[in-house]
């Protein structure tokens, strides 16, 4: 697209730094200069750890997510997970439920479980590219609960990571008053550092998604008389259903 005013601006930056134009590239070995192979092998190491320490990491996220304010339920099987999701929805008295279109729903039979409670979930996609964005937006704001899978979870901080993309809208986890995220064993990272290693590796391999959301509990504010209140603009209640 367009870049405006850069040359003059950078000229003044160089002037302020006391450098002549066209100064040599900085030594950025500790930042960007890591060879692509290094990043790739670090990422491979992260993925190995994710699978080898899957049980321990799942224990860790169970604890840290609860600390961060998620309501956490852990179940043995995908079927149990679907039942828990349906239970949460029915206990909340939800009538409008929206879910993303992600792979998780192929193994966790959420639709069936909800139907058995008399709830028919909508799927938060727009069909033809861009055809029905306003309707999707309306649906998200009108829904009581949004249900998604999880791309990664982060044990350090009790975080769920979502990359909006085809089948996964931004709003499905934001606009409804409650959000339920379903996490599979094997998708947990130890800390933020590993997340960004994977992101960098994906970037070097030809691209990352258009955006990424780290969600670590309900929406909060402390802006009125320094009192913490949940649910200002985002969901006031978030549930993490852990399978494994």
């Amino acid at each position: 697209m367009a870049i405006t005013g850069r040359d003059a601006f950078l000229g003044r930056v160089r002037g302020a730094l006391g450098r002549s134009p066209g100064a040599p590239e900085p030594d950025n070995a500790t930042h960007i200069g890591l060879e692509v192979e290094d990043v790739r092998s670090s990422a491979d190491g992260v993925r190995r750890e994710m699978s080898e320490s899957a049980d321990a990491l799942l224990d860790a996220i169970e604890e840290s997510a609860a600390t961060a304010g998620w309501k956490v339920r852990r179940v043995a099987s995908p079927e149990d997970a679907a039942d828990v999701v349906a239970e949460i929805c029915s206990e909340a008295g939800a009538t409008n439920v929206l879910r993303s279109d992600q792979d998780i729903f192929a193994s966790v039979p959420v639709d069936a479980a909800l139907e058995s409670k008399g709830i028919t979930p909508g799927v938060a996609t727009v069909g033809e590219a861009g055809a029905d964005i306003p309707a999707l937006k309306q649906a998200a704001f009108d829904s009581d609960i949004g249900i998604t899978g999880v791309d990664y979870a982060i044990a350090e901080t009790g975080t769920v990571v979502l990359h909006p993309r085809k089948g996964l809208s931004r709003l499905v986890s934001l606009a409804p008053g409650r959000h339920i995220a379903i996490l599979n064993k094997g998708d947990v990272l130890p800390s933020l550092d590993e997340l960004f290693t994977l992101e960098r590796a994906d970037y070097n391999d030809g691209g990352i998604e258009g955006s990424m959301n780290l969600i670590s509990g309900p929406s909060r504010t402390g802006d009125i008389a320094a009192t913490i209140v949940d649910g200002i603009h985002g969901p006031f209640e978030v549930h993490l259903v852990i399978v494994g």
Binding site: A68, A129, F196, S211, D223, H233, G234
Partner: protein
């Protein structure tokens, strides 16, 4: 924002006399600061992380041109637009033109201190665009028509009753609502606005040069609303908010958020890599990044002030500062209050007008102690004090009497005989006016002291006399 940095003393006096604000400001220490201390104690290798964070910022700022170029090339490749603005007027003009071009009626704003520099919401309203602050604290001060009081908690000075009354005037709700009820009211009001917004303006917590990403750190979710719904998303950024790579983000997020609120992480961290792609379900169609100078070049150009650009805008220095806690955010007279504000506000908006600000500190060092990137604020304040005294008149000045006073002080301290004589003379002249060795009232400038404290008279027998006597006694063999 037009600076009123010359009214520090007046603002301080008013704030000190306001019991509601004094009580509200306690939360800065008992809440934010205490939570930050706990988080620092609980985080492994906290000091090493701060060292590393500082090293990253130092490297980036020293090579700012390189990283700005990289960042903007990547944004361009991602399908975004970049506008470089020399000052807030240029930045505002770009955004207003864009809004007009895109037929924008309603703008939603997420937290952006740079947009406060621009008074952007005000400028938009002036041309008939509805501009709504969506961060609850910013929303409250927008209702009140005030400037932000704190970098991350803009309405911290308002009591619950004051907020309830303001909401009541807008919505007709009960003026005695609790924070929970007020939050629900605000949620409803702003939810409706989110849905019909045409354009959003957000800040930027970090921009990642390597990938052309911008990162927003929020707890409320308004940042996510702003970057999900409107057709056009404009992000406004101070030129210094860059980190080289995504790898740096993990650590920077860790030290930023724990320093700001003591949380391990905020409820939401959002990374944006350009406008939405065709196959996505929602998201803005257009992305614009406005990179702003507005006086930052002055900080960059002075090696002793350059580290002010490392600032992550976490507010930890405000929370630790006993001066800020007493005088409040408005006393500093521009966008940035507290210790970091005492440096950047006068430098960016004019040192002559803001010449009191570098002196409005006891140099206690609490700010430096809590800064996630170890910015040496006291040192920068001392440097600015020197500039005010020695610099050209455009950069402020001190009175003639004070200059003469320090010359006299110098004279008296160059020789111990003069020093001793000075003390003796003060003792002799002052004795008739002192009661039990203390003065209750003295003429200016010492009246500043005696307004609230007694001041002792100089000793008739100073230490150096006593020591001499002691030595001669002992050499005479007596005790």
């Amino acid at each position: 924002m037009l600076p009123t940095t010359d009214r520090f003393k007046k603002g301080a006096k008013e704030t000190l006399a306001d019991p509601v604000i004094q009580m509200s400001m306690e939360a800065v220490y008992t809440g934010f600061h205490t939570n930050r201390q706990s988080a620092a104690a609980d985080t492994e290798a906290w000091d090493e992380q701060r060292d590393r964070g500082r090293a990253i910022k130092e490297h980036t700022i020293e090579n700012l041109d390189y990283y700005l170029e990289m960042l903007t090339d990547k944004i361009d490749a991602n399908g975004g637009n970049v506008f470089f603005a020399e000052d807030s007027v240029e930045a505002t003009e770009y955004i207003l033109n864009l809004a007009r071009d895109r037929d924008v009626k309603t703008v939603i704003k997420s937290k952006s201190m740079v947009s406060e520099e621009m008074s952007l919401a005000h400028e938009m309203e002036a041309v008939g665009i509805e501009a709504v602050e969506t961060d609850l604290g910013e929303y409250i001060i927008q209702l009140a028509g005030e400037a932000p009081y704190h970098i991350i908690a803009p309405a911290i000075h308002k009591s619950q009753d004051q907020v309830a009354e303001m909401f009541s005037e807008v919505t007709g709700t009960d003026p005695g609502q609790t924070p929970e009820e007020l939050t629900t009211t605000a949620r409803g009001m702003l939810r409706e606005t989110f849905q019909r917004a045409d354009m959003s303006v957000t800040g930027v917590n970090f921009a990642v040069a390597e990938s052309g990403s911008i990162v927003l750190v929020t707890n409320e979710g308004n940042g996510r609303m702003c970057t999900s719904i409107p057709r056009v998303h404009v992000a406004v950024m101070g030129m210094e908010k860059i980190v080289p790579s995504m790898q740096d983000l993990g650590m920077m997020l860790r030290i930023l958020i724990r320093s700001a609120t003591g949380q391990k992480i905020s409820s939401y961290v959002t990374m944006i890599n350009g406008p939405r792609r065709d196959e996505e379900e929602d998201g803005p169609e257009e992305f614009h990044l406005v990179i702003v100078d507005n006086g930052r070049m002055k900080l960059l150009a002075d090696p002793k002030l350059r580290e002010a650009l490392y600032c992550l805008r976490c507010g930890a220095c405000l929370n630790a500062c006993p001066v800020y806690r007493k005088v409040g955010g408005h006393s500093y007279g521009w966008v940035y209050p507290g210790p970091i504000g005492a440096v950047v506000s006068p430098v960016m908006s004019g040192l002559k007008q803001g010449k009191d600000l570098p002196f409005a500190s006891s140099l206690c060092g609490a700010c430096r102690e809590v800064c996630p990137v170890r910015i040496d604020i006291p040192n920068m304040l001392l440097h600015l004090r020197q500039q005010v005294v020695e610099g050209p008149p455009e950069e402020g000045s001190v009175g003639r009497i004070e200059r003469l006073g320090w010359k006299a002080w110098r004279f008296g301290n160059m020789k111990s005989s003069r020093f001793r004589a000075g003390g003796k003379m003060a003792n002799l002249l002052g004795r008739p006016f002192a009661r039990k060795g203390m003065f209750r009232r003295l003429p200016p400038p010492l009246s500043g002291w005696t307004r609230s404290r007694d001041l002792p008279i100089t000793a008739s027998s100073p230490f150096r006399d006593r020591f001499k006597k002691r030595k001669s006694n002992s050499s005479r063999g007596g005790e």
